[in-house]
Symmetry: C2
Subunit: 470 residues, 2 copies
C-alpha cells in the first residue's frame, strides 16, 4: 500500500496537533446549556476546517437538538461511499479541582495531551478529518467517497440523531460507516473492535396494596411491596451471579474458539480491573472475566426504590416499589424477546394479587457485529497487520453504541470502529488525556485504511447492506 | 360505686360538648409552624380551664419544643398519685377539599362530632379534664391525687418529652398513669387496652464497590449492590411471610389461651380490614390476622433505595444500596437483642467482601404491658363490667406508644389507656369524628374509674413500681 498520504500527513503532524489543541480549547459540553457558546464555536471551527480542506455541502444537520456537522467529497464514482463518524461534544469537566491543568487548556506532559475530549473523541475525530483533507491536498482526490458526519450530542445519548437521519436520508446514503469513536481495547496489543453488546430496558412498578400502611396496624398480616420486589430481584440471578431468567440467554451465540482466544488475549490485569472501582469479582464461573463483560449477556437492576427514604424512620409498609432494569445483549439475542423473557420471569415469580406494571418497550438496541468477510473488517485487519506487524486481536465492546444500531436500522449499513483512544485515558474523568503516539499512529493508519477500502468497489459492499426500516 | 360525680357531669354534658367544640375550633397542628398561633391559643384555653376547675401549679412544662400543659390536685394524702395523660395537638387537616365541613369548624351530623382532633384525642382528653373538675366541683376533692399532663407534640413523635420529664422529674413523680389516648379496639365489644408492641429500628447501608460502575464495562463480572440488598431483604422472610431471622422471636412470649380468645373475639371483619387498603393477606399461617398484627413480632423494610432513580434509564451498576428497617416487638423481646439478631442475620447472609454499615442503635421501645393484677387494670375492668355489663375483651395495640415506654423508663410507672375513641373514626384523615355516645360513655366511666382507683392506697401501688434509669 502506498504510504504517500500518510507521509504527507505525518510531515505535518505538528500542525495537526496545533489544530487539535485549538479544537480542545473550545468547551463543547453538550449536557450543559451553559456551554452553548462553546458548542457553537466548535461547530464554526469544524465547518471552517471542512471547507478549508475542500469538502462540499458543508453544513449543519439539525434534528432539533445539537446539530451535526456535515461535509462530503463524492468525486470517486463507482467507489464505495463511506460515512466517517466522529463527535465534537465532550463530557462536563467536573470535578474541576481534580484537574492538574484546566480541562480546556490543553497541556502536554510526558507524551500525553491532557484536555477534556482529547481521548473522547476529538483526537480520533480530527485524525479522520485530517486524513480526508490530506488525500485531497496530496492527491486531489480520495480513494473512496466520503461523508463526514460529526455528531454534537453523543454524550447526551444522541436524542435527535434519528430525526437528523430521517430528515437527511438521501444525503446520508452510504455503503458503510467508519467510526473514529470506540477506541482500542488494549494498551499493549493491536486490537480491532468488531462489535458491541446490545441493550434492552424496562421499568417495573410493583404494587402490593392500594396505599401505604402503618406497620403498627397492618404489620405481620400484609404483603410489603419492598419485600416482594426484593424477592423478584433476587430471583433473577443465583448466588454465583448466573442469570436465572428462563429463555433469556437461550439465543445468545455460543462462544467460538476464536472468541475465547481473543478474550484470553485481552484478559489483562484482572486485579487492576477490580481494584480501579473496588468492585468484587462475581458472575458466571463458566466464563472468564473478559468474556463476562463483552461476550455474555447480563441483567442489572440500575435503580430501585420504594417506601420512605427521607431522614429518620417511618413505620410504613410500602404499597409500591419500583425498579429500573437493563440487560446487555450479545449476538443472537433479539432485544424484544430478551425483554419479554424478563417480563415473563418477573410475572411468573410474582405472587398472585401482587401487581406488576411495565414501561412500554422502546429504546432497545441489538448487539452489533461486523460480520466475517465484511470489506471494512478485511481492510482494517490488513492495515493493522501492515502498521503493527501482526494480526489484531478482535475485541468486542461490553457497552452499547446506539449509533451503530441506528445507522444499521435506518441506513442499512455496518460500522467499523477505528478510533485510537486507549482504555486507560480517563475519559469522563478528570485529567483525560490522549497519547501523542496514538495521534501519530492514527495519522499513519487512517490513510492506509481509506486506500485499502478504495480497493473495493461500491458493488463489493452491496451484499453486506441490510434492509432498512421504512 | 357511687355514680354521683358521673351524674353531676352528665347533667352538664351540653356544656362539656360546647367546651369540646371550642377546643376543636383551635387549630393546634404541631407539625406545621404555620399553626403556632393555634398551638398557643390551645395552651391558653387549657391552662385557663385547669385554673377554673381549681387545679394548682397550672403551668407550661417546656422541653425546648411544644410545651406540655400541667396542673395538679394533691389533696388526698395516702391515696395514689395518678398522672392523667392527654395531648392537645392534632394532625394536619390536609387534604382540605375532602372534608364535608371544615376541619376546625366542629359540626354535628347523625350523632357524630366532626372535626380534626375530635377522636385523636381532644374528645377523650377533655373527658379526663372535666372528670377531675367535676370531682372538685361536686365533692370538693378527688379520690386520688391527680397530675394532669397534656402533651403538645404527640403527633410529631414527642421529640422533647424526655427533656420535659428530666426537667420536672419531682413534679411528675406518681404511682401510675392513666392515658386518655389509645382508644377502644372495637365498635361492638367492650375492650380494654392492656399493652402495645415495641419497636426497634435500624438503617443499613450496603456497599459492594468503591463507586458506581458502567454496566457496559463491568456488567457480568461484578456484584451489584441492589442485587445484594435484594437477596438480604428477601432472606428475612420465607414465602409465607414467616420471619427467618435466627433468634429474633425466640424470646417472644408464647400466646396464652386468653390471648388467643381475646384475639378471636376481636378478629372482626377481616375482609373489610384488607379491603380498606387493598392489601393482600399474608403472614405466618400459624396465627390469625388479629394475632399477627398485635401479638406477634414483625420485621418490615420501610424504605429501600439505590442506584439511579431519576427519569429515563442509566446503565449503572450501583455500588451502594440503603434500607430502613423497623421491627415490632412483643412482650419478652428486648429491643437491643432484637436489633442484634437482625444485624447478625444480615451479616451472616452477606457475601464476603460486601460491606454492611448499620446506624447506631437508638430510639427503640420495648413492648408495653399492664401486668395482671395491676390496680389500674383491676379498677378498669371493674368499671367496664359495671358500665357495660360484661368483662372487657383485652386488646393489645399493634403499634408502639413511645410515651408508655418513656414514662415507665423515666418515672417507673405503668400506664392504663382509657380513651373513648373508636377504631373507625378516621383519625389522621379527612372527616375525623368522635361519637357523641362516646362522649357520654366517657363522662360516665371516668368518674367511676377514679373512684375505683381511690379504693387503693398509694402503698398498694408500691409493688408495681419499676426501677428507673438514673
Amino acid at each position: 500500500m502506498s504510504t504517500a498520504v500518510a507521509d504527507h500527513l505525518l510531515a505535518r503532524k505538528d500542525a495537526v496537533l496545533e489544530r487539535l489543541m485549538a479544537l480542545l480549547r473550545l468547551p463543547s459540553v453538550s449536557t450543559d446549556p451553559a456551554y452553548a457558546e462553546g458548542m457553537a464555536a466548535t461547530r464554526n471551527f469544524l465547518t471552517a476546517r471542512l471547507r478549508e480542506l475542500g469538502l462540499q455541502k458543508v453544513q449543519l444537520l439539525d434534528g432539533g437538538g445539537q446539530p451535526a456537522v456535515y461535509g462530503e467529497w463524492l468525486g470517486a464514482p463507482g467507489q464505495p461511499t463511506i460515512i466517517i463518524y466522529g463527535h465534537y461534544d465532550v463530557q462536563p469537566p467536573d470535578p474541576l479541582d481534580r484537574w492538574v491543568t484546566p480541562p480546556f487548556e490543553p497541556a502536554i506532559r510526558d507524551g500525553r495531551l491532557y484536555a477534556r475530549g482529547a481521548s473522547d473523541v476529538k483526537g480520533s475525530t480530527l485524525i479522520a478529518v485530517e486524513t480526508v483533507g490530506a488525500f485531497l491536498a496530496a492527491e486531489g482526490k480520495c480513494p473512496v467517497n466520503v461523508k463526514l458526519f460529526l455528531e454534537g450530542e453523543e454524550e447526551t445519548g444522541s436524542p435527535s440523531i434519528r430525526r437528523i437521519i430521517e430528515r437527511h436520508r438521501d444525503l446520508l446514503a452510504a455503503d458503510a460507516m467508519l467510526s473514529a469513536d470506540g477506541g482500542r481495547a488494549s494498551t499493549s496489543l493491536p486490537t480491532l473492535n468488531t462489535g458491541s453488546r446490545g441493550l434492552c430496558k424496562l421499568e417495573v412498578t410493583l404494587r402490593s396494596a392500594g396505599k401505604d400502611m402503618h406497620s403498627g396496624r397492618y404489620g405481620g398480616a400484609v404483603r410489603n411491596a419492598l419485600h416482594e420486589m426484593a424477592r423478584l430481584v433476587a430471583s433473577q440471578h443465583d448466588a454465583q451471579g448466573r442469570i436465572q431468567v428462563a429463555g433469556f440467554d437461550e439465543d445468545a451465540a455460543p462462544l467460538t474458539e476464536r472468541d475465547r482466544a481473543d478474550a484470553a488475549a485481552l484478559a489483562g490485569d484482572e486485579a487492576a480491573f477490580y481494584a480501579s472501582t473496588g468492585a468484587l469479582p462475581h458472575g458466571d464461573p463458566a466464563y472468564g472475566v473478559r468474556e463476562r463483560v463483552t461476550l455474555r449477556p447480563t441483567i442489572d437492576v440500575n435503580g430501585l426504590w420504594g417506601g420512605y427514604t427521607g431522614a429518620g424512620s417511618k413505620t410504613v409498609i410500602p404499597a409500591e416499589a419500583q425498579a429500573k432494569i437493563t440487560a446487555r445483549l450479545v449476538p443472537g439475542q433479539d432485544p424484544d424477546r430478551a425483554r419479554d423473557c424478563i417480563v415473563a420471569h418477573l410475572r411468573s415469580h410474582c405472587p398472585e394479587g401482587v401487581e406488576l406494571f411495565f414501561s412500554p418497550p422502546g429504546g432497545n438496541s441489538p448487539s452489533a457485529t461486523l460480520p466475517e468477510g465484511h470489506p471494512l473488517l478485511v481492510a482494517a485487519e490488513a492495515v493493522v497487520r501492515e502498521t503493527q506487524g501482526r494480526d489484531p486481536v478482535r475485541a468486542r465492546i461490553g457497552g452499547t453504541l446506539p449509533i451503530t444500531g441506528i445507522f444499521r436500522e435506518m441506513l442499512g449499513i455496518d460500522t467499523l470502529m477505528f478510533g485510537f483512544a486507549m482504555p486507560d485515558e480517563d475519559v469522563h474523568a478528570p485529567n483525560e488525556f490522549f497519547r501523542l503516539s496514538s495521534l501519530e499512529e492514527g495519522l499513519r493508519a487512517w490513510p492506509l485504511l481509506l486506500s485499502r477500502i478504495g480497493q473495493s468497489s461500491a458493488a463489493d459492499f452491496a451484499p453486506w447492506r441490510h434492509a432498512t426500516q421504512a
